[in-house]
Amino acid sequence: MPKRSAAAATKSDVLKGTLDLLILHTLTLERMHGYAIVQHIKRLTDDALHVEAGSLYPALERLQKKGWLTSRWEASPTGRQARYYTITAAGRKQLGEERSGYDRAVWAIERVLARG
């Protein structure tokens, strides 16, 4: 069994809006395929955040539909065809907005918790 401990609750419950934020941010580094996005987030958060494929792919569709991402089939380093996602200019702009929205929310929650 993999580590299913205290982090289990947060693992899959990445908030919807936050997931978009994470995906967009991840893709500012470079274009990636879906599996790489999952792995990247997992690695950065030390397995604390686990993005399930069942959430990731719908989110990718949603973001494409909004024009924030585009996708292309390309050869991966292993030589197989994989679908690579790229962030668009509109996506970067959106990232900025989501980011400041997120910062405000975090700031607000911190304030509440500090008082409590």
């Binding site: 879906g34 399930e52 494929a53 792919y57 719908p58 989110a59 494409q64 539909k65 024009g67 679908r83």
Partner: protein, 885 residues
């Protein structure tokens, strides 16, 4: 950028859903493979491939769920569902072909009929004329109120034209118009004697182009000098004639053409659409109006007037000024009874005659569309109660109400779209058909085409009906949404039965209006057709000759022509008799003169208005079959040297000598006292409904006027070969006299009824469709009642009800609505058909027999429509029904 990316994404998802689906699968596959590889690299290096795969799957989550979620997110699912719905609809409709066909056909008929008539009305009545500033384009005419009671000229009382000198006097002093022009229309023969062809000629003054606000497409218009007696013979060619006759030759200016026997040189080509008025024979050339020496006479009101009213002047002010000036120019006298002026926009004058009939047709088509909508509603509601059980079952199995509503909506929409598409086709076809059969004088018919706006409106109405009544059952479902309805089957549909009956009542009432209207028009038409024209019209050929100018002025040559041509024609095999006359009946002309009666000192207005003038050879009466009532007809001995004689018709004899014989009396006619030698029967001159009008016949040997003569020939051979033979004789005897046309008199009589025939035909077709739709609606109601109440019927049968009483119940279910509808319909028809009064001949709008006949037809239709379902209800295997429930 983002918009384009997003759009590209959506288009791909939308148009390549399968390819996109495969991509999604490949991507998942790729993900799983990488995950498996990862697992292998990690602590589980010793696992079997199957285990790895399983773990990877677990790590991925529910693949199906993820894919489905993904499809929803991509937006594919909406289209998927729609596609599913539409496929489902087609399955449903295939299972209910009658329902589908009835709904689609009903909508198509309603949309088609309404769109056709609306398109025609739009162009003919409402679209502004295609000239610049059309509202300033004004038609001016003189009025003569005495004519209002005249048997055949009543419609002309406010359409009296202008004489050329009168017009010039008025134009010089008037201040209401920027520009004024005169015109009239005639037909002439072009093409010489080899291929004589009748064309329309407009005689117009030089200022006409300025009045209309158009410029020649090529060349120039007429100059002022050309518009005077002695001006150069010039002509303008209309755009259509230029294209058709001259192959759009750009070097046409200067070409010479022959109109009748005169030669004209073309100075310009008119732009397309420069048509002042539509006529049966389209206009090919314009020639200057003022050149003709015949029209310089003050008593010849030969011209119609068009003007550009000044922007600052109202129509009322212009009317007032024109009437005042005209009275000053030509003071009223016993011989000229002109009293006023009518000033109105050209558009209103053009559409005046067409307006009322088209509005009536519009109302009829509107009724038909309403009936069609009511019918679709009835059928859909009936269908809904049939399907209640199905819908409840599907709900019980987990279909959401939203999904059911969406499905019902899709169903109605599919029907509405198919019906609308067919309706569009029908409208195209119907419009063409109506334009073909419409009377030729209706303005601007050539511009009629199915208008997108009109079509959209009719489609919107029918789609709305389909949607509203299609969704009703789904909404009704939500009232009691547990499983009770499922168990009870259709029992809860009672309320719907009532609304269906109301709809049927409406349909019946509306159809009644159309049926009564059609029945009245048909009877009126039959009665007009049965009117005796006063002479025998079958196998009577009328050949209209056109005398070129030199002959026309020479009475001796015309008499010689008559003698020679008639002798040769009579000698043709198959010809019984032949005569010559001016202005033959039913050929559109009218010529009259005032007269005096010996011994009468008080001038009577009838004598001023005058009698119809006919100059004939002696055989005219026997050839046409006009009975001689008193005295004798004139004969060849009544020539220029003999005592001047006339034959009068019965009306004139009656009005002047009610109590004694007219024979031997003297009438001053065309400047000479002439003795009445005979009285002949009245004949109809223009149409079959006119009252008889005083007519004086004078022998050609004693009187000559410059009127084109016609041959009337009684034949018993083949009409076509006889026509050819007559043309041949005229060509032999007088090569320079073209025959304008040869018609059979009965054909001319039929043509005079073109308006009535068109109106009657169209309204009858609408009424027939309305009756058919109502019958379909009734059938629907009865069929629904029969299937809905199967269990009730089974119980009744079990308790001893006879087949007869069960059938009566089913018939009765529909009959209630029909009776209410019929009563309301009688009331509506009594009011509605009043608009037909001016078009009815010898029948009132309250004709008892007509209402009786329509009600009987309705009763028979009801029985016929409901009997089928009623019989079926009695044949249901009742025990099975009870057991099933």
């Amino acid at each position: 950028m983002s918009l384009i990316d997003a759009l590209r994404y959506r288009l791909r998802v939308l148009f390549h859903p399968d390819a996109y689906g495969r991509e999604l699968e490949r991507e998942v596959e790729h993900h799983l493979d990488l995950e498996s590889a990862h697992q292998l690299r990690g602590e589980h290096a010793l696992m079997t491939a199957q285990d790895v795969r399983r773990r990877a799957m677990r790590e991925f989550g529910n693949v199906t769920y993820a894919t489905e979620e993904r499809r929803i997110a991509s937006g594919v699912s909406v289209f998927d569902a729609l596609r599913q719905d539409v496929q489902f609809v087609f399955r449903v409709l295939r299972r209910r072909p009658v329902f589908a066909v009835v709904t689609v056909a009903t909508l198509a008929l309603g949309v088609g009929a309404a769109t056709s008539i609306f398109s025609i009305a739009d162009v003919v009545l409402f679209r502004p004329l295609a000239f610049p500033d059309p509202e300033r384009l004004i038609a001016v005419s003189q009025t003569q109120p005495e004519l209002k009671t005249h048997p055949i000229r009543a419609a002309q009382w406010d359409r009296i034209g202008f004489s050329l000198p009168g017009f010039r006097d008025w134009r010089a002093v008037q201040t209401s118009f920027d520009e004024l022009a005169i015109w009239n229309y005639s037909t002439s023969v072009v093409g010489g004697t080899e291929s004589p062809e009748e064309v329309g000629i407009v005689h117009a003054s030089a200022s006409m182009l300025a009045v209309l606000g158009v410029r020649p497409e090529l060349g120039r218009g007429f100059t002022r000098d050309e518009d005077e007696v002695g001006g150069l013979p010039v002509a303008l060619v209309t755009h259509d004639a230029w294209v058709a006759r001259m192959a759009s030759d750009p070097h046409v200016i200067g070409r010479r053409i022959r109109i009748d026997s005169a030669s004209y040189s073309i100075v310009g080509v008119l732009p397309p659409g420069a048509e002042i008025e539509r006529s049966a024979t389209p206009t090919s050339y314009w020639i200057p109006a003022g050149q003709d020496a015949d029209v310089q006479d003050r008593g010849n009101y030969a011209f119609r007037v068009l003007g550009r009213i000044k922007r600052s002047v109202s129509i009322d002010a212009a009317t007032e000024e024109t009437a005042r000036l005209l009275r000053r120019i030509e003071p009223p006298s016993p011989n000229s009874a002109i009293h006023g002026a009518r000033v109105a926009t050209l558009q209103s004058v053009q559409t005046r005659a067409a307006r009322q009939p088209i509005l009536i047709l519009l109302a009829a088509a509107g009724l038909l569309l309403l009936i069609a909508c009511a019918n679709v509603a009835t059928v859909l509601m009936g269908e809904a109660s049939n399907r209640e059980a199905e819908l409840r079952a599907r709900m019980a199995l987990g279909a959401s109400r939203g999904r059911l509503i969406r499905q019902l909506l899709t169903e109605s929409l599919v029907l509405a779209v198919i019906g609308g598409a067919l309706g569009t086709l029908l409208a195209q076809f119907g419009t063409k058909l109506m334009v073909r059969f419409a009377p030729p004088w209706v303005p601007r018919l050539s511009d009629v085409h199915v208008d997108a706006r009109v079509l959209a409106a009719a489609l919107a109405v029918s789609c709305a009906t389909g949607l509203v009544f299609g969704i009703a059952p789904a909404l009704l479902l939500s009232r009691s949404d547990d499983g009770i309805g499922l168990r009870l089957g259709g029992q809860s549909a009672r309320g719907r039965g009532r609304s269906q009956r109301i709809l049927i009542a409406c349909e019946v009432a509306l159809s009644m209006v159309l049926l009564v209207g059609a029945a009245l028009l048909v009877q009126s038409f039959a009665r007009i057709n049965a009117v005796d024209p006063g002479f025998r019209t079958e196998r009577l050929l009328v050949a209209q000759l056109r005398l070129p100018q030199p002959q026309l002025s020479d009475s001796l040559r015309v008499r010689a022509l008559a003698r020679d041509v008639l002798a040769r024609v009579r000698a043709l095999p198959g010809v019984t008799n032949a005569a010559m006359t001016t202005t033959p009946p039913f050929s559109g002309g009218s010529s009259s003169s005032s007269f005096d009666v010996e011994g009468r000192t008080i001038p009577a207005p009838e004598r001023v208005i005058g009698a119809q003038r006919r100059i004939t050879t002696p055989d005219f009466f026997t050839t046409s079959g006009i009975p001689l009532l008193d005295g004798r007809a004139y004969d060849d001995t009544d020539d220029a040297d003999a005592l001047p004689v006339i034959v009068i018709n019965r009306s004139l004899a009656r009005s002047e000598w009610p109590n004694e014989s007219a024979v031997g009396k003297r009438i001053k006619w065309m400047g000479t006292w002439r003795t009445v030698v005979g009285v002949v029967g009245d004949i109809k001159l223009h149409d079959l409904f006119e009252r008889p009008v005083a007519t004086i016949y004078t022998p050609l040997g004693q009187l000559y006027r410059r009127n084109d003569p016609s041959l009337v020939v009684r034949v018993n051979g083949d009409l076509t070969s006889m026509s050819a033979a007559i043309r041949g004789v005229v060509r032999d005897v007088a090569p320079d006299v073209p025959v304008k046309r040869i018609d059979e008199m009965s054909g001319l009589v039929a043509a005079s009824l073109a308006d009535e025939r068109f109106r009657t035909m169209l309204i009858s077709v609408f009424a027939g469709l309305a009756a058919l739709l109502a019958a379909v609606g009734m059938y629907g109601v009865a069929a629904t009642a029969a299937s809905r109440r199967t269990r009730e019927m089974a119980i009744r049968a079990a308790l001893g009800a006879t087949n007869g009483s069960i059938a009566r119940l089913i018939v009765g279910a529909g009959a209630g609505g029909v009776v209410v509808g019929a009563v309301a319909g009688v009331g509506l028809a009594l009011i509605g058909t009043r608009v037909l009064t001016p078009y009815l001949y010898a029948i009132g709008t309250t004709d008892f027999a007509t209402y009786g006949a329509v009600l009987t037809l309705l009763a028979v239709t009801t029985l016929a429509a409901t009997l089928g379902p009623a019989r079926r209800a009695t044949r249901v295997p009742l025990v099975d029904t009870l057991r099933r429930e």
